[in-house]
Structure formats: C-alpha cells, structure tokens
C-alpha cells in the first residue's frame, strides 16, 4: 500500500526526575483532559485510573541519608515488540505508524486484560466500575476525547485528541503538518517546573533530541528491548542506580556485592554504552 505520509514522526518524552516535585498537576490535568472517571472509594490505587501516575521513589534510608524523588509513569509507547499491541486478540490497541503513539480503542476492547498482563510498566488500566458522573457534568467533558465504558482497558495516548485538533486547525489553514508547539500533551502543559519535555525523537533540531542523547538520560527496563519512547533524566546517583535497567527491588542497595550482580550491572553499563569498556581499559 502506498503511503501518502507527508510527515513521519516518533513522538517521545523526556521527564526530568530531578525537577519533578511530585505536585500531581500532571495527573489531574491528564484526568480532566481525557475525561477519566473517578472510581468509587473502594478502588484504591490498585483499581484506579491514572493514565499518568507519579510514584514516590525513596532510598529507604533514615534521616539524614533519606532521599525522595518522584517518577511520573505513563504509557511508555514502546516502539519495538510493543508488548500490549502484539498480544491484543482483536486490534483494540494499535501503534500508529505515523507517530509511534500506542493507542487504545475502547469500543473494540473486550476487556480480556491480556495487554495489562503484558505491560511491564503497569501503565494500562482497567475500568472496573461504570463511570459515574454527577448530573450535568457531561456538559463539561472535553469534546475531543470519548469517554470509556466499564470493562475496557484505557491508557495514555499522548493526549491524541489534542493532536487531532492541532491537525484540524492546520488543515483549515491549508497545512498538512503541525508545528512543534501546536501539539503538547496536557501533563506537559500542567507541569509547573517544566520537568516534562515532548517532541519528535527523530528531529535533531529539537531540544528533546539533545536531552535523550545526553548523559542524564535513561529508560525504564531498557534491556527488555521494547524501545520505550519515554526517557527519564536524572543526575542523582541513587535514582539512576534504583531505576537503571531493572535491578529488582531486592537489589536496591548493591551493598551485598554478589559477583553476579556486579557482572549484570557491568553488562548493563555495556549495554547502554559499548565504549565504556574501552574507556575503562585505557
């Protein structure tokens, strides 16, 4: 099939953990933007609907060594072997070849939750309850995002409704492409400290490009090979140690010094930077 694609992009994010204050504006902005319902009180954090969820990271030390950081976690929009897309039995989730955005079509979803079992980031959420809104509140729904019914999976789609609106505006002005500043997800817009950066990962002209190729950048569970498009930035050694490539919680403090851990960690360093070995030798 010929592709009349004029503009292929690979949308991604860089989130600066060192700047994040854990205020939660991104979570609320996301829920408001995407008409995310609020499940009743029994829901708790295990049955909630938080397309973006800020986790509190702690180095588990008492004062004065105690350190806290915040990690906003959203769908990582995996670019390779996308775990959820490959397992959905009926194409209810899909990766857009033009943008790299992983979408979820709730009307197609049968609620089998296989994609949730497949997602290592726990970034997919099931609507356990019928969405309930007080009378009249549907009048202030975001008209660009369709609400979900009970019994389906939902997740972050980089505020795709905003992209559609931006494309529509561009179309009305006779443009086929949108400018970089025309499409920004709600979480980014809400972040008071500018911790979230968004853009085309393939465009060297964008600030994002430098950020994700910088020293401070890494990705969660990078070695799973799913090529997530969310990058995290941190200079704090304990944060990097904690998050860097899937050392399980039991190994947060490499004090145990088991040789296999060291080997694995060494491997992980190599995986990220193949020239590290050379440098070490020289």
């Amino acid at each position: 099939m010929s592709r009349n694609t004029t503009h292929r992009v690979r949308y991604g994010m860089a989130i600066d953990i060192d700047r994040c204050t854990g205020c939660g504006a991104c979570m609320v902005a996301c829920a408001v933007e995407n008409n995310v319902s609020v499940p009743p009180p029994p829901a708790g954090d295990r049955k909630g609907l938080t397309w973006i969820r800020v986790y509190r990271l702690h180095n588990e030390r008492p004062y004065p060594e105690s350190r806290t950081a915040y990690l906003p976690l959203l769908c990582q929009h995996c670019g390779h072997h996308t775990p959820c897309v490959s397992v959905c039995p009926q194409h209810a989730t899909d990766i857009d070849p033009e943008t790299g955005i992983v979408s979820q079509i709730p009307e197609r979803c049968l609620g089998c939750r296989y994609c949730m079992a497949a997602c290592p980031y726990h970034a997919r959420y099931f609507t356990w309850w019928d969405p309930v809104w007080p009378a009249g509140m549907e009048e202030i729904f975001n008209p660009d995002v369709s609400p979900r019914m009970r019994g389906v999976v939902e997740k972050c789609n980089f505020c795709h409704g905003r992209r559609q609106v931006a494309l529509q505006r561009a179309a009305a002005e006779g443009r086929r492409q949108i400018r970089d500043d025309e499409y920004r997800p709600a979480c980014l817009e809400a972040c008071p400290v500018g911790a979230i950066h968004f853009g085309n990962l393939d465009d060297p002209k964008q600030e994002l490009y430098d950020l994700v190729h910088g020293e401070r950048a890494f990705r969660l569970l990078e070695r799973l090979g799913t090529e997530p498009k969310i990058y995290y930035l941190s200079s704090q050694p304990w944060v990097r140690r904690l998050l860097h490539n899937g050392i399980p919680a039991s190994r947060r403090h490499p004090d145990g010094g088991r040789p296999d851990v060291a080997a694995l960690r060494h491997q992980q360093v190599l995986a990220r930077d193949p020239r590290a070995e050379e440098r070490r030798r020289s």
Partner: protein, 764 residues
C-alpha cells in the same frame, strides 16, 4: 391443500425460510447493529457538541489567583490551563485549579440556603438532616437573629470571620461589622503573624512583602517553599528566580536551607535540610543569632551594627527613624545579648538535635552569603510558628540587614480603594486570639475556601456555651459549615466576579480580576449582596456604599488606573504593557477582566518599616525565652508529638474536586487525612504495623488512622495531614474521614503545631 400440513411441510418451509434469511441482509445487518449497540452503551455520557471558544481569567480557588485560560463549550469551561508568563502562576495551574471547574459538581455543593442538621444538634452536617429554605426566608432569618442580639445590646457578641482578608469583600465585611458594632476577624495569612508584627512595633506596620529576586540564601523555618501548590507563596518566586537547588542537581548559586521536622517535599529537595527537634525553631534561630553576633558577622553598616557595635550607645542622627527608639533600646539590647548568651552552639545543638558544627556553618553561610532572608514557617495544616520563634527569626533578618532593602523584606503600597469606600474606611480588625473566650453568640463564616486549616476547638472556645449560632456562607456543606445552624451558600469559585488582591509576600501591590466562567446556582448569593440586603432589612447604612460588587470592582480598577503607576501583564499573550498605554479606565478594566494582572512599581521609599526594626531589642516576655523550646503542653502518658500538616488551600475540611482522588486514593502521591506517618521504629515500639489501622490518642480524643511507616519521619513525632479528602463524584461517603483537626488542642497563643499524642494498636 387437502391433506393439511404435515411435519415435513413445516420443515421444508422452515428450510426455505432459513435459506431466504441467509440470502437476505437480515442476519448481517442485525449482527452489525448489535455490535454497534454493544459499543455504545446507552448509559455512557454523551460528549458536548458545539462551538468552542476561549476566555481568559483568574482562578479564585485559593488567594493566589493564577491566570487561567478557559476553553469553553456551550458556554461552560471544560479545560483550564495556566497563562503563559503569568506573574503569579508562572504559566501553570495547580491540580486544584486544573480541576476547578469540577467544584461546581462537587457532591457537597449547596445549591441554596439550608438550616439545621448541624453536628452539635446530633446531625451529620449533611443535607439529609437539614431543611432547605428559600433565599428570602434565609436572609430574613439571619437578619432576625442579628436584630435579636442588637435589641439586647449584644452586638459585640457577633463576629464575622473572613477566610481571605484583603479583598474588597473584606472591606464590606469590615464596614458592616463596624456599623453593627461586631468583630471583624481576618483569618491568618502566610508569613509573620500580624499579632507578632503588631507586638513588635508600637505603630501599625506598613504591609510587608518579600523581594526574593536574586537572593542567594533562603533560610526557611518550615515554609513550604518548594512544595506548596500555591503560587503566591515563596515557592514560585524562589523557584523561578533562584532555581531549585535539589540535591544532586546542578544547583544555581542560591541555596535553600530548610529547617523542618517533617520530611516535607521542600525539606527533601532543599539544598540543606536541618531536621530540628519538634518545636525547636526558636532555639535554633537564637543559636544562629548567637554565632552571628559572637563572630561579629552581622550587618555592621546597618541598624544591627549601629545598635550592637554601639552597645546601645548609638549616636542617633536627628533624621534617623531609630532616633526615638534608641533610648529605650539600650536596656533591651542588653536583654537580647543576655538572651543569646544562653544559646551557644553546643547548648543549641542539644535543644535542636542539630550538630553545633552545622549550626556554625549555617550561621556563617546565612550571614556572609547574602543577600539572605529568613522566613517563618506557615504550614497551612500545622498553623503558625510560636510568636517567639517568629520574633527570633525576624531578628535574624534584622542582624543581616534583610529588612528595608531590595532582596529582603520590603514595605509595599496598599491597593487603592474605590473612591466611595475610601471616604469612609472599614472598622477595626480583631485578632481571633483577642476575642474573649465564650463571648460570641453568633459567628458568620465567610464562604471563600480558607487558605489554612482552623481547628474547630479554636472557634468553640470563643463561642458562648449556649445558644451560639454559626452561619456559614460557604458554597459547600463540608468544613465549618457542618457546624452551622444556617448556611447561605456563596457562588463557588469561578462563578462570580471576584478580585485577586495582592498576595501576602508580594514585594509590590498587584490586582487581578476573575471573571465568572459559569452561572452560579439560583440559590447562591454573593456575601456582598447578602450583607447589602441584611443592612437594608436592619435599617443600617449600605456596607458597599450602595454599589454592587461588580461596580465596586470596576471602581477599584479605576482607582488603580488613577495611580498611573505600574504595568499590566496581559492575559492572552503574557506581554507587559505599561499602565500609561491604556487610554481609559474602561480599557484597563477590560484588560483585567480578560486575565490581565496589574503590578505596581516598587516602592522606592526606604525605612518605612521603622519601629519594627527595633523588635529584637525588645524581647517582650524574657522569662519564657529561657526555654527556647516551644514544647507541646506535656501530658503524662503521651510520649509522642502530633504534628499536623497540609498543603495550602487544601488544608481543612473544604471541598476538593473529586478528580483529585487520583492523587489521594488512586495513588499515594498525597497524604490522605486518614494516614498517620510514623518512623518504623516508633511504630514497632507502639506495636502497630505498616498499612494497618491504629488509634491516635490525644488529650482531646482519639481516632483511627492507617499507619504509614516512613524512615524519614522523626522518631518522636507522628504526622497527619489536615487536608480534606477528595469526594467521589457520586454521593458523599457515609462515614466522615478522620479529621485530625478535632484531635488538636491549640494553646493560649492560638498555636496548634504540636499536640501530645500516643499511638495504640487497634485490638482485633
């Protein structure tokens, strides 16, 4: 057919029918429609369709008043975002503001006046137990009650509690209470308590602001500098001007030193976190002052130098505003030196739990790496610092000359009043602590969402034991309104013309106007209109000078326009436009109504703080300074200290948009008011377990909380958030959440930061 129908015939016809159906579109069409039906459940809400427009305005949920852009569909806002470069919000909104338009649909929202159902009478504070009544009847009822007290000459037993002082509405309250002879009580704002400032200066102080631009050291005694969602706190200014200096980041030159017992987000992210023993702020401030004075690091060219170096024998020149005070000063100064002598670093280290080396380092850094400013804590849930601690902190600023200069505490000009109100200014202001206990027979509580938590006991103390009536003007039935005998709801935020007066810490005056984004419900009445109608019923002069609120706002804008000073931050594009560029007051008003924010020029007059500068020379109650520790009133059997906390505008029991549940229930990002945070060791000793319920007992009572262990918590302390819990979108939950505010017993100074407490496991 003569033979009649046989079974085989039926089967044949049926077979033909089946073949026919298969050859018709019927099965496929029905299957398709059924598929569509299962994808469009009828109970799914339908999206609004209609023209989408944009409006600019201000958020009035908290006193900050961040600029906002509202996307509107069918006349209703569906998305609120910050205005770029907004001088207050800095381009974003806090979570509360982002969901502000949902408050209208809050399950605790009142749509009309309600009476009865209050907790004191065995009710639940919910509408179910209350009777709604027509607006006119409610107004007549309130007027009648006031009239009763007037008739017996007991007007002074009436008080109005203003949740958000500084507005034009506050002026109306003041004028109303003045003509009635009632008290006008402003709720506390951030920074130094007005009581403290009042006590320190013999004359009324001009308004204080903090100019943080370009400072290098900020010594914060528990102020939520980096984690308060509010824009007008130091947070945004500090973050914007000085850059956040979180550990491990490439920090700018500015250093935040946070003195705080609780591992708050600010403490965790501060450049230096000093975790002091609970209540030892005063001792620490004095200990730092000791080092500064002892090592001669104070500002020798400024006031401190004149006073300390001169050893009281300052040679006052005739033009010096200190002239008057110098004579009194000398004896008091000796008192201050004597006082400091009790706080050498080693002694202070014992009191505060901070090493003497650190105390020396911090004192030196504070005194030498200027500009440096010390600010007192203002945790919205924990309440103000002890007055003496505030005084000691004030003195630190005085020592380093951080008063009356740019990059320090400055005085600022007040916002001009509308002409008709300026001619006859409002009446006296009473501090809540100055209201005699048990004296109030009627308390009218303003409807704005309060900035800070207020323990219910602080109010009940002031109320007469019998027959006291509380009238709530809150748009919600939660919070203090649960105790109200009559509730006349004001419009919710974003539903009425409102003004955003100058934030407490702003270095210059500002004014912004919030245009309504939606219609208030029919039964809601703005307090200004309410007072106007009551005044009319009682035959009193109109508190608003016969003008409605919108007109007053316009007149205030006109009065600002007449000053011909300052500039406007335009809402739609964030550009700065000099006030002179507007050719009429109307054009200026239009700009303000479209999200603009007027900012005054800096006041170039110096030395306006005058008398307050002498504060440290005059420790008002020398006896209690010896202690240096504002300990919780000790009670046997309560080994721990309960320190409540809360985020600004979200401390207390007011309403949060239900979508905030994402931050509380659906993640553990924000502390739920149902959680008690303790050190794992403390929990172990008390025999309670992480994640399980436990009793928290104080002399005031006991309640159940969920234990959350956190190794960063001080082992002698338990922390509980005062804040509200977000409601569900449906009905309010049947059970009230455990409000820590009812466990607190404020001391005689109105301080409730620390309450003796103990932790008990819940018996199975």
């Amino acid at each position: 057919m003569s033979t009649g129908w046989r079974r085989r015939d039926f089967l044949t016809v049926f077979g033909g029918g089946m073949a026919g159906i298969a050859l018709s579109p019927l099965p496929w069409k029905l299957l398709d429609d059924a598929a569509i039906w299962t994808q469009n459940w009828s109970w799914l809400p339908r999206l609004p369709r209609g023209e989408i427009s944009t409006r600019y305005g201000r958020c009035t949920i908290c006193p900050a008043g961040c600029g906002l852009r509202a996307d509107i569909v069918n006349g209703q806002a569906f998305r609120l975002t910050g205005l770029p470069n907004d001088p207050i919000g800095g381009g974003t909104l806090c979570p509360l503001g982002i969901a502000g338009h949902h408050l209208r649909y809050h399950p605790a929202r009142l749509r009309g006046p309600v009476e009865g159902g209050r907790i004191e009478e065995g009710g639940t504070g919910r509408d179910a137990d209350a009777r709604s009544l027509p607006l006119d009847e409610a107004i007549a009822r309130l007027a009648g009650w006031i009239n009763e007290l007037q008739d017996v000459g007991a007007s002074q037993t009436i008080a109005i509690l203003d949740a958000r002082p500084g507005r034009l509405l506050s002026e109306i309250y003041r004028r109303f209470s003045a003509s009635l002879g009632a008290h006008y009580i402003p709720a506390r704002t951030g920074g130094f308590s007005s009581d403290v400032l009042h006590a320190m200066g013999s004359a009324p102080l001009p308004t204080l602001g903090i100019d943080l631009a370009g400072i290098r050291t900020l010594l914060s005694f528990g102020a939520p500098v980096l984690d308060d969602w509010g824009a007008p706190s130091c947070a945004n200014q500090f973050d914007r001007y000085a850059g956040s200096a979180g550990e491990g980041t490439t920090s700018s030159a500015a250093l935040l030193i946070q003195v705080e017992t609780r591992p708050s987000a600010t403490a965790q992210r501060a450049g230096l976190w000093l975790r002091n023993a609970p209540g030892s702020e005063c001792a620490l401030a004095l200990g730092l002052a000791h080092v500064i004075v002892h090592e001669g690091l104070y500002d020798r060219t400024g006031t401190a130098g004149q006073l300390l170096d001169g050893d009281g024998d300052a040679r006052p020149s005739s033009g010096d505003p200190l002239n008057q005070g110098a004579a009194v000063g000398s004896s008091a100064l000796c008192g201050y030196r004597e006082l400091l002598a009790h706080y050498p670093p080693e002694q202070t280290a014992q009191l505060t739990g901070i090493s003497s080396a650190t105390i020396r380092d911090v004192a030196r850094r504070f005194a030498t790496a200027g500009p440096a400013v010390a600010i007192p804590g203002q945790d919205p849930g924990g309440g103000p610092l002890d007055p003496q601690a505030q005084q000691a902190i004030w003195n630190l600023n005085l020592l380093t000359g951080a008063l009356d200069r740019r990059r320090g505490f400055v005085s600022r000009r007040a916002l001009p009043l509308p002409q008709r109100l300026a001619d006859a200014p409002g009446g006296a202001v009473t501090s809540l602590s100055h209201v005699p206990d048990g004296s109030l027979r009627m308390l009218i509580v303003d409807g704005a969402l309060p900035d800070h938590a207020l323990p219910w006991e602080l109010l009940t103390r002031k109320l007469a034991r019998h027959g006291a009536r509380l009238v709530s003007l809150s748009p919600f039935r939660s919070g203090l309104a649960r105790h109200a005998a009559l509730r006349i709801p004001a419009p919710a935020p974003l539903e009425f013309w409102e003004e955003v007066p100058t934030p407490w810490d702003a270095p210059t005056a500002t004014l912004a106007i919030a245009a309504p984004l939606a219609e208030p419900p029919r039964g809601a009445l703005h307090p200004s209109a309410l007072l106007e109608r009551i005044a009319k019923l009682l035959g009193m002069p109109s508190p608003g000078g016969d003008a409605d609120y919108l007109m007053l706002l316009r007149e205030r804008a006109a009065a600002v326009f007449l000053t011909a000073r300052g500039h406007v931050h335009r809402g739609r594009d964030g550009r700065r436009v000099p006030l002179d560029d507007y050719d009429s007051a109307e054009a200026f008003w239009q700009e303000l109504a479209a999200g603009g924010c007027w900012i005054d020029d800096a006041d170039k007059t110096v030395a306006r703080l005058g008398p307050a500068r002498r504060a440290f020379l005059d420790p008002s109650q020398p006896t209690s300074w010896d202690q240096g520790i504002a300990s919780a009133p000790s009670a046997a059997g309560y080994p721990l200290t309960l320190m409540p906390f809360g985020p600004r505008s979200m401390a207390g029991e007011e309403a949060l948009p239900p979508v905030m549940a994402k931050l509380y229930r659906e993640s553990h990002l924000r502390s739920s008011p149902e959680d008690v945070h303790v050190h794992p060791e403390t929990a172990r000793r008390a025999g309670v377990e992480d994640g399980l319920p436990a009793w928290v007992e104080t002399p005031a009572g006991k309640r159940r909380f969920q234990v959350q262990t956190d190794p960063a918590v001080h082992p002698a302390v338990i922390h509980i958030a005062t804040g509200p819990a977000p409601a569900s979108f449906g009905d309010l939950p049947q059970e009230e959440y455990p409000a820590v505010l009812e466990l607190l017993s404020p001391n005689e100074k109105g301080v409730w930061r620390m309450t003796p407490a103990r932790l008990r496991p819940v018996e199975c």
